[in-house]
């Protein structure tokens, strides 16, 4: 299958990179009033355009509201004024049709310039395929054998107000996207299920991820740092919990990082093949399975396995979790087309898949007593 890797090494590498970048992570500003000017030439242009339009609007507002205020103060009945009788003036009416039109042209020119600057279709230095699915992002580097899922890392206890919320609450992921600075990075954006929207405010990039179609956007980031954004299109229950985190590194550092990742992912694959022959016992499967279940499956099927009636099916006491094991593995590994059930073959290692399926068949009173091993998963995946 060649697309599977275990998460451990990747996570370690990211923790290291996180630590080295934490210093340059700008603190979110309380009572922030305005757009950020961002870290690309385009985002700066967008910011300038935003300010230009904003000030034009302020001037228009001052003139209109000023005239209104003047009238309400000086032309009020209580001052004993006699109302005038004029009720039309072709000249004035032409003037306030033509003048706004001219102002609009003044706005349209810089807007068109910026829009055309955004439409740069020249060859990129780095391409990343960004795939949205409920409710996580998947990044795949076109020219390197590196791909991974990026899932929100905020603990459920923080969301449930049981733990103190940390500074990047809801804006932190387990594995951020890493890109080089001062190179043109192209994002090819698509989706596995519903429409999502990949948004990084500091790049002025927001593009919808449409299932079955690709969209592209690009950024040339000038400053190394950590940049945070969120999914911007309602995509179902956990739409508010699918952040985007991008780390921009100096090209040399990026090159080292991507090489390291390729190596790690290759090793992980080898290791997995070796582990296929190994059987795990019930305790181990259940421990790993519970952890995987809670991070991956509980969002829909709920921690108690009861699902959300009418929305997401229950696993507790369900036919599929109690009977046909092959079918169960097939559903988890390949997903079910036309439903929210995703394919987990790429998201989890075979060991994790085996563990989580075992867990589902033995938790919450689903006492089948059956064990699923990595080789059973492999059999379904690769038809052996």
């Amino acid at each position: 299958m060649g697309k599977i890797f275990t998460g451990f090494w990747g996570v370690m590498a990211f923790l290291v990179s996180f630590a080295s970048f934490a210093a340059s992570d700008p603190k979110p500003e309380q009572y922030q009033l305005n757009l950020r000017s961002g870290v690309t030439d385009i985002s700066q242009q967008v910011y300038d355009l935003h300010m230009t339009i904003f000030w034009i609007c302020v001037v228009i507002a001052i003139i209109v509201f000023g005239a209104m205020l003047w009238a309400t103060i000086f032309h009020r009945k209580s001052r004993g004024v006699k109302p005038a009788t004029f009720h039309e003036s072709v000249k004035v009416e032409i003037a306030w049709t033509v003048v706004p039109f001219i102002i609009l042209i003044g706005m349209a020119i810089p807007a068109t310039k910026t829009l055309i600057a955004m439409e740069d279709v020249s060859a990129p230095d780095v391409s990343v395929i960004v795939t949205g699915s409920q409710w996580k992002w998947h990044y795949k580097y076109m020219d390197n054998e590196v791909e991974y899922y990026s899932v929100m890392a905020t603990q459920p206890e923080q969301i449930a107000n049981k733990l103190e919320k940390n500074i990047n609450y809801l804006l932190e992921v387990d594995r951020p996207l890493v890109i080089p600075t001062n190179q043109k990075v192209r994002f090819l954006i698509t989706s596995d299920d519903v429409i999502h929207s990949w948004w990084v405010p500091d790049f002025a990039v927001k593009k919808d991820a449409n299932p079955g179609f690709i969209n592209e956007a690009w950024a040339r980031v000038e400053k190394p740092g950590i940049y945070r954004g969120q999914c911007a299109e309602l995509c179902g229950k956990d739409h508010g919990f699918m952040p985007v985190v991008v780390i921009a590194k100096e090209p040399a550092e990026y090159a080292a990082w991507i090489e390291e990742q390729e190596e790690l992912q290759r090793k992980a694959k080898e290791e997995e093949q070796k582990l296929l022959a190994m059987n795990m016992d019930m305790d181990e499967l259940m421990t790993v399975g519970e952890r995987v279940y809670n991070t991956t499956c509980a969002a829909c099927h709920m921690p108690n396995g009861e699902g959300l009636p009418g929305v997401f099916p229950a696993l507790k006491g369900s036919d599929i979790a109690l009977n046909d094991m092959q079918k169960h593995i097939d559903v988890v590994v390949n997903g079910v087309s036309g439903t929210a059930m995703q394919a987990y073959a790429k998201q989890l290692s075979m060991k994790e898949l085996a563990a989580v399926i075992t867990y589902e068949r033995n938790a919450w009173g689903n006492d089948t007593g059956e064990l699923v091993q990595a080789k059973d998963v492999n059999a379904v995946l690769n038809g052996q």
Binding site: I53, V64, F65, P83, I159, G212, H239
Partner: protein
């Protein structure tokens, strides 16, 4: 503008043989435009309170970061149903109610042209919303895909109660279409002798144009929900790439309806303000004919700007430029309207009765919403604003402080005509000032959190948005409570408490509706007035 030459006593003469059945039957079987108008208005107000209660749930959840009150799935149902109720249940029926009451009175017609259909178009509405609200209590809950119901979230990935949602929208659509047909036929055929098109009050004009918009786009909405239904339950693939469809096409069809729809919700408001401002400025409306042309051009332009809601879907740059320019162009006729209102006030003799206060607030706050709309039209910056709270701020400024404020202004303006008694002015002042302050506390900071990067339709948010959200929620609760003052005032008014008023009610008021007695008799203009 017009004077009535026949004597009004004729109408009073009819008063004593009004054979209206009493009790519930009167309201169920009524074909009287005034009764139906009253029904529409009360229905809209009840829906406004229900939709508002949902907004309170939303704001309570967003009061502070973390999940406290509702789960994300229910939160999504709240945002969805809040939107549907406010658009189709509150604002649109309120305008239809005002049209029912006022259009025949303003053009000198005895009733609406199609009184039986009028009864129908009202009485199917409660069922539409009953079905929608019922779905919230069924397994899986109600619609949770936003009032815009983008496919495939509303098709493949929705639950089975989507069928109820579709059914409900069909009924709402049928109701609006029947209402619109009635308005058009009434205005085209039932005008009093001498009431030429260019003598019609602006409220009538704006409603005529709105009604044409309604019959043009409500069927398209019906088509869109039908496609959602067949995609979900009958195996078609209009919006599914696997079967050769395209989810982005849904958005094109939806917004082809959706953009004219937003003008459906604001054009009658323009009409109302154009009635009220001249009355209390004691001066004729400035630029009557340019107001009519501006309204018509806004309506026409509304058909070629729909894709400005979809700049981030990935359109070719040529299309983006076209929709940007067309959208910017709409600000010209809209600007003309605002300038005309200001010019009407200019050198008038202004007094500040409650309807005028709401109208002045409308002009200022709607202009703020219009200017943020202009900012949103600029494609490159829209990439930053799109689907953030900046958009939420924009459309609440045009819909709440725009459409809803105009409906309140209209209610205060015509309420004495309906009941024959002046409403409780002290309560009305409380209602106005509480609403004005709280609504700005509610919606103004949304601009800031939107620009700072808070996406819309999220049940929980990052910590840097916490302070503003607290203020927004407080503003929301205050605005919600302020409407209870309005409720108290309306109940009082309906029990006919207060000082009796004259036929003209307001000293600057002109038009046929002010020439029938207050309260307006059950039957009016059975013999048409002659307008000079």
């Amino acid at each position: 503008m017009s004077t009535v030459t026949n004597d009004i006593h004729h109408d009073e003469h009819h008063d004593h043989h009004d054979h209206k059945p009493s009790g519930i039957k009167r309201w169920l079987y009524t074909t009287n435009h005034k009764d139906i108008g009253t029904l529409y208005l009360w229905f809209a107000f009840i829906m406004f309170l229900i939709g508002g209660a949902m907004a309170m749930v939303i704001r309570a959840e967003l009061f502070q970061p973390g999940l406290q009150i509702v789960d994300p799935n229910f939160f999504n149902q709240m945002t969805t149903v809040h939107g549907l109720i406010m658009v189709f249940g509150a604002v649109m029926p309120a305008f239809t109610g005002l049209a029912n009451w006022m259009v025949p009175l303003m053009i000198g017609a005895p009733d609406m042209a199609l009184p039986r259909m009028n009864n129908w178009s009202f009485w199917i509405l409660p069922f539409a919303f009953l079905i929608l609200l019922m779905s919230l209590f069924m397994e899986g809950g109600g619609p949770a895909f936003g009032w815009t119901f983008y496919a495939p979230l509303s098709t493949t990935y929705s639950n089975d109660t989507t069928a109820l949602f579709v059914f409900s929208v069909h009924i709402m659509g049928a109701s609006s279409i029947m209402g619109a047909i009635n308005v058009i036929v009434t205005i085209l055929n039932m005008r009093a002798p001498g009431m030429t098109f260019m003598k019609m009050p602006l409220f009538v004009w704006t409603w005529l144009i709105t009604a044409f918009l309604l019959i043009a786009v409500m069927p398209v909405l019906a088509g869109a929900v039908t496609m959602v239904l067949t995609d979900k339950f009958f195996g078609t693939s209009f919006f599914d790439a696997a079967g050769g469809g395209d989810p982005v096409m849904f958005q094109h069809i939806f917004w082809f309806f959706g953009h004219p729809e937003v003008y459906i919700m604001i054009l009658p408001a323009f009409g109302i303000v154009s009635q009220i401002v001249p009355t209390f400025s004691r001066k004729k409306l400035f630029g009557y004919s340019s107001m009519v042309y501006a309204t018509a051009s806004i309506a026409l332009l509304s058909f070629i700007v729909w894709a400005h809601h979809m700049f981030t879907t990935g359109m070719p740059v040529g299309a983006e430029l076209f929709f940007m320019f067309a959208t910017m162009l709409i600000s010209v006729p809209t600007g003309v309207k605002v300038f005309n209102w200001v010019a009407t006030m200019w050198r008038g003799a202004i007094s500040f009765e409650i309807p005028m206060m709401f109208s002045l607030a409308f002009i200022v706050l709607f202009t703020i919403g219009g200017l943020s709309g202009l900012m949103l039209a600029i494609t490159p910056v829209d990439f930053q604003y799109h689907d953030t709270y900046f958009v939420v701020a924009h459309f609440h400024y045009v819909l709440v402080t725009g459409a809803v404020f105009s409906i309140m202004a209209a209610t205060y303006y015509w309420l004495p005509k309906w009941t024959g008694k002046m409403f409780d002015i002290t309560l009305a002042k409380w209602h106005f000032w509480c609403s004005l302050i709280s609504v700005n506390l509610l919606f103004f900071p949304m601009h800031f959190v939107g620009l700072a990067g808070m996406p819309r339709r999220i049940p929980d948010y990052a910590l840097q948005f916490a302070d503003f959200n607290k203020w927004i929620s407080l503003g929301g609760f205050a605005f919600g409570l302020s409407q209870l003052i309005f409720l108290a005032l309306l109940i009082k008014a309906c029990r006919k408490k207060g000082e009796p008023v004259s036929a003209q009610v307001w000293d600057g008021a002109e038009g046929l509706e002010w020439e029938v007695p207050s309260p307006a008799p059950y039957h009016t203009f059975e013999t048409p007035p002659v307008v000079k």
